[in-house]
């Protein structure tokens, strides 16, 4: 019996998530999750700000935005913006500008460890993750008016 389109789509998307073997794979998954999150957020944001023309609807929305799930969603939004942007930049530099590609490969038949998922490419990924977390913390503090920029 032929599989339905929905089953095929679900099975293919599920293929992104397993098996998790390395950190690059986690970055790959996070890149997709944050990408989807931003793609859903942007049209919702436009619809939501359009509601500001109606004071009653806008008032209701402001109450909704002060709830805890929305606040958590906002923190993840800050993370999504920084992680997706920085990781995209990393992929562009590594994959298209080949900034870490070795000029010469080792004169050996077997490698003790693979070069693409170890230094310096790995260090660059660590840098992206650390920077994303730091910027998320700063962004969250700014978002909740704990940190005020002058």
């Amino acid at each position: 019996m032929a599989e339905s389109t929905l089953v095929i789509v679900v099975r293919r998307v599920a293929g992104w998530f397993t098996p998790i073997i390395n950190l690059e794979r986690i970055a790959y998954i996070l890149h997709r999750i944050t990408g989807f999150y931003l793609a859903i957020y942007l049209p919702l944001h436009i619809i939501s700000t359009h509601n500001s023309l109606n004071p009653i609807a806008w008032e209701k929305e402001l109450i909704l935005y002060s709830s805890l799930p929305i606040k958590i969603g906002e923190i993840f939004l800050v993370f999504s913006i920084f992680f997706h942007g920085l990781n995209g930049l990393r992929l562009l530099l590594v994959e298209y500008f080949n900034i870490f590609l070795p000029k010469k490969l080792p004169s050996s038949l077997y490698l003790e460890r693979t070069l693409s998922i170890h230094n310096p490419q790995k260090t660059f990924l660590y840098l992206v993750i650390i920077l994303s977390i730091l910027l998320t913390i700063l962004g969250t503090l700014y978002l909740f008016n704990i940190l005020v920029l002058r």
Partner: protein, 258 residues
Amino acid sequence: MIRRAVDTKLVSQIQEITPKTITKLMRVKIKRYDPETRKMRLVEYKVEVSRYDTVLDVLLRIIRDQDHTLSVRYSCRMGICGSCAMMINGKPRLACMNNAISLGEAIYIEPLKNFPPVKDLIVDMDDLFKKHRSIKPWLIRRDEEEQFTAKKEYLQKPEEVDTYRIFSTCIKCGVCVAACPTAASNPNFLGPMVLAQAYRWSADSRDEDAKIRLDIVDSIDGVFGCHFAGACSASCPKNADPALAIQYLRRLVLTYKR
């Protein structure tokens, strides 16, 4: 830095085992595919495992002592033929290159991901080999007649061999394809093995027409379908680093003078 990768992996696995342990009763859960019902079923076996047994040894012991209907594909038993690739405890590996006792209390074995199952742990790899053939994995010479009636060898300098040598250790086992998220979501994607081999042959100084090969891989189902999850290189039993070969291949596609 450079040593025999396979040997060090096995030695470290064996060193983790307590020296006193001689045999251990292990639970082996196998997800078997039944071609008649087209369904998977989980079967559990209990096997006495000695400290030097590989997962393949364990499977062969099950076939010999407990269930002769279990189907497994294998040949060399030493990580050369690439026949016994399967999902072991959730990760794609070669059954003959993994020490069983170091995998914990239980071993969970499934057919290789991203390949259609044929029976039990055997998967259909025809599509992979068809894709491999499509990138012309051989030396392409301008003078074909000369190639088949060559009077002398095509000589290479050692540094010319270095440009592709590590990628030539690929045994076409399909482990990298099972680990690849793009291969899981796009069945037309050529896959890490095929793309790495496309670079291996295109980088060979004896090859005279890489353009044919590069035209084939220059697409979203080819080299531009890879988004660098690195799982292929992390799982490769030979450390042939397909992700690195794809990075070189992409540079070659973008810079090749046509």
